[in-house]
């Protein structure tokens, strides 16, 4: 029973981690807290569902369409809501406000489109194969989700630290004006970062839609709030931090839901966020440079 719950926790935590990766990437590069990330996630799930309904049930199709839709929507958000505000004084605040507005628009459009109904991915989109290991019942999907998560983290780390694009992204993150002086097209780099962030959100949306067998317009908000906890616990802008913290939060939450109550789970999650901010605002993997961005001396 305990092992089974731990497994469930790791699966949920992996999705939290995938979701939070995109969130933390945007914060690390652009210093933006994108409040519309949850809506991008939800629209990714919607797009995957639409593709599957039109072209027949296929897991890879849903994933690819979900990621593409999430990425494109995120680039659109960048152009409409964030680009006009960049390089303005106090840009992080106004970006947060403008993304709140964008979130509201995306949310109510989805509500009107879906008539506030809960939709489902067609049965059999993912083969149901059960394994019995030491009395544990493991579904194939429960193995695939953590695997996808690990692949995504590895791919992102490789991209950021071993490729030319990664070098450009890191230089824009360090200082946008300096990188422009060095001949880097920072708007194009930003658009690529937004695409990656949105694609990760779309992927998480499709995975959650299939794993929990429900897609509805309000599915993004709880994930966005969890993502706050995950990236603060992991350290802002830290990719390994997002992975570790995502799994930790997912496990704690699943255990609390099964042994105490779901209301207690939310309470504990946000109490953790609170304590982290008060005691160690840089999180588990925060570097000295993040301290300056977080705290006054």
């Amino acid at each position: 029973m305990l092992l089974q719950q731990l497994l469930n926790g790791v699966v949920v935590g992996s999705v939290y981690a995938i979701f939070a990766l995109g969130f933390t990437l945007l914060f690390g590069v652009n210093n933006i807290l994108n409040m519309a990330h949850g809506s991008v996630f939800m629209w990714g799930a919607f797009a995957g569902l639409a593709a599957v309904t039109y072209f027949g049930p296929s897991f890879p199709l849903a994933v690819v369409v979900g990621m593409l839709a999430g990425g494109l929507l995120s680039v659109l958000l960048d152009i409409v809501a964030f680009r006009p505000l960049r390089r303005r004084k106090g840009a992080d605040m106004s970006a947060l406000l403008s993304s709140l507005g964008a979130n509201l628009v995306l949310l109510s459009l989805a509500q009107n489109l879906s008539n506030t109904k809960v939709m489902r991915y067609p049965f059999g989109i993912f083969p149901i194969v059960n394994f019995q290991v030491f009395g544990l019942r493991i579904q194939l999907l429960q193995l695939v989700i953590p695997l996808i998560c690990i692949v995504m983290v590895a791919a992102l780390v490789f991209l950021l630290y071993r490729t030319g694009l990664g070098r450009r992204i890191r230089s824009v993150a360090f200082s946008e004006s300096t990188s422009r002086l060095l001949g880097i097209n920072s708007e194009w780099v930003n658009a690529q970062v937004f695409f990656m962030s949105g694609a990760l959100a779309g992927l998480a949306g499709v995975l959650i839609g299939i794993a929990f067998n429900s897609v509805h317009y309000h599915m993004g908000e709880p994930f966005l709030l969890k993502a706050f906890v995950v990236i603060i616990l992991g350290g802002l802008g830290s990719i390994p931090g997002a992975l570790v913290a995502g799994v930790v939060i997912g496990t704690i939450e699943t255990l609390t839901i099964s042994y105490v109550s779901s209301a207690a789970a939310d309470g504990i999650t946000f109490a953790v966020l609170f304590l982290i901010i008060l005691i160690r605002p840089t999180g588990l993997f925060g570097k000295a440079s993040t301290v300056m961005r977080v705290q006054r001396q």
């Binding site: 605040m93 109510s108 908000e221 603060i232 309470g267 609170f274 901010i277």
Partner: protein, 299 residues
């Protein structure tokens, strides 16, 4: 005339209550503190008022006072924590507070009755009283804004480093702003409960945060009148144009984005700046008007 007034009375009540919430939001934004907590304070104020009157039979006015006091106390505790943090992190910490409050409201069923909410709250906040309270709150903020506190707030928001170099303690002013914002937020919440018969935890979540922020940004946060105008516009526009009613939140979201991008100072502050600019132009000898720094701040 009378029937016209009475049919729009609930609208007027809403505008008055929300303008107190918007003032709470404007005050922290004026001090350069990025807090989303007014919604949490409103929740505390509303629930304290509702629980005291319905379950314990306390006098409604006393219950409102208790709600305001409790919200102010929580704000004081929050102020100690957030004054150490910078910008976006203040937003995250206060967002966590809002979520904790919603969770408490949903989970502590023996007191808050969970998701069902509390019904049968005595309606004591009538339009006349609301007008009086809003007038008092406006006067309070106006007075604060005119003296050194207001100038310190403006300076901290514009440039923290300059403020520190002039010997202004950023932490102290941020704490003060947070506590005062708690007082106003709690007041807004308690009045909300005393005006609407029933409250639910979900009302004090994301939608209220966005509403408060939109009003503050729309009106402008430097001047006292911004909160009043922001609340008036945001509440009355969807009511006046029924077409918007169905797409109310799309409208609100688009409005928030447009104002942030094209009118970052809000309506009132932009108008005041314009008036100030013209006054400066006129005072100068003709022909020399183009050379001065017309961006000098109004008020």
């Amino acid at each position: 005339m009378i029937s016209f007034l009475s049919s729009y009375q609930s609208l007027a009540d809403q505008i008055l209550i929300y303008s107190v919430l918007a003032m709470s939001q404007c005050l922290v934004m004026r001090a350069g503190l990025f807090s989303l907590a007014p919604t949490a304070f409103a929740g505390i104020g509303a629930y304290t008022m509702a629980v005291l009157t319905t379950a314990h039979g306390v006098n409604p006015v006393l219950a409102i006072v208790c709600g305001v006091m409790l919200a102010t106390l929580v704000a004081a505790a929050m102020a100690l924590a957030t004054s150490r943090l910078r910008g976006v992190f203040q937003a995250v910490a206060t967002l966590a507070l809002v979520q904790v409050m919603v969770t408490v409201g949903l989970g502590w069923e023996s007191v808050t009755r969970g998701a069902l909410g509390i019904n049968g709250i005595p309606k004591v906040a009538t339009t006349g009283w609301l007008l009086l309270v809003v007038a008092l709150a406006t006067w309070l903020l106006w007075t604060i804004g005119r003296y050194s506190i207001g100038r310190a707030f403006d300076l901290i928001r514009e440039d923290e480093t300059v403020a520190v170099s002039l010997g202004i303690s950023v932490m102290r002013y941020h704490r003060f702003a947070m506590i005062l914002s708690g007082l106003l937020g709690g007041l807004a919440g308690a009045l909300y409960a005393a005006n609407s018969h029933a409250i639910q935890p979900s009302e004090f979540g994301f939608s209220m945060i966005v509403a408060g922020l939109t009003m503050a940004v729309l009106g402008g946060h430097k001047s006292v009148w911004g909160a009043l105008l922001g609340a008036a516009i945001l509440i009355s526009l969807p009511e006046l144009f029924r077409v918007f009613a169905e797409y109310r939140s799309v409208f609100q979201g688009v409005l928030l984005m447009l104002v942030i991008i094209f009118l970052p100072n809000g309506i009132v502050d932009s108008l005041l700046e314009l008036a100030h600019e013209r006054k400066v132009r006129r005072a100068l000898p003709s022909g020399d008007g183009g050379n001065i720094d017309t961006k000098a701040r109004a008020t």
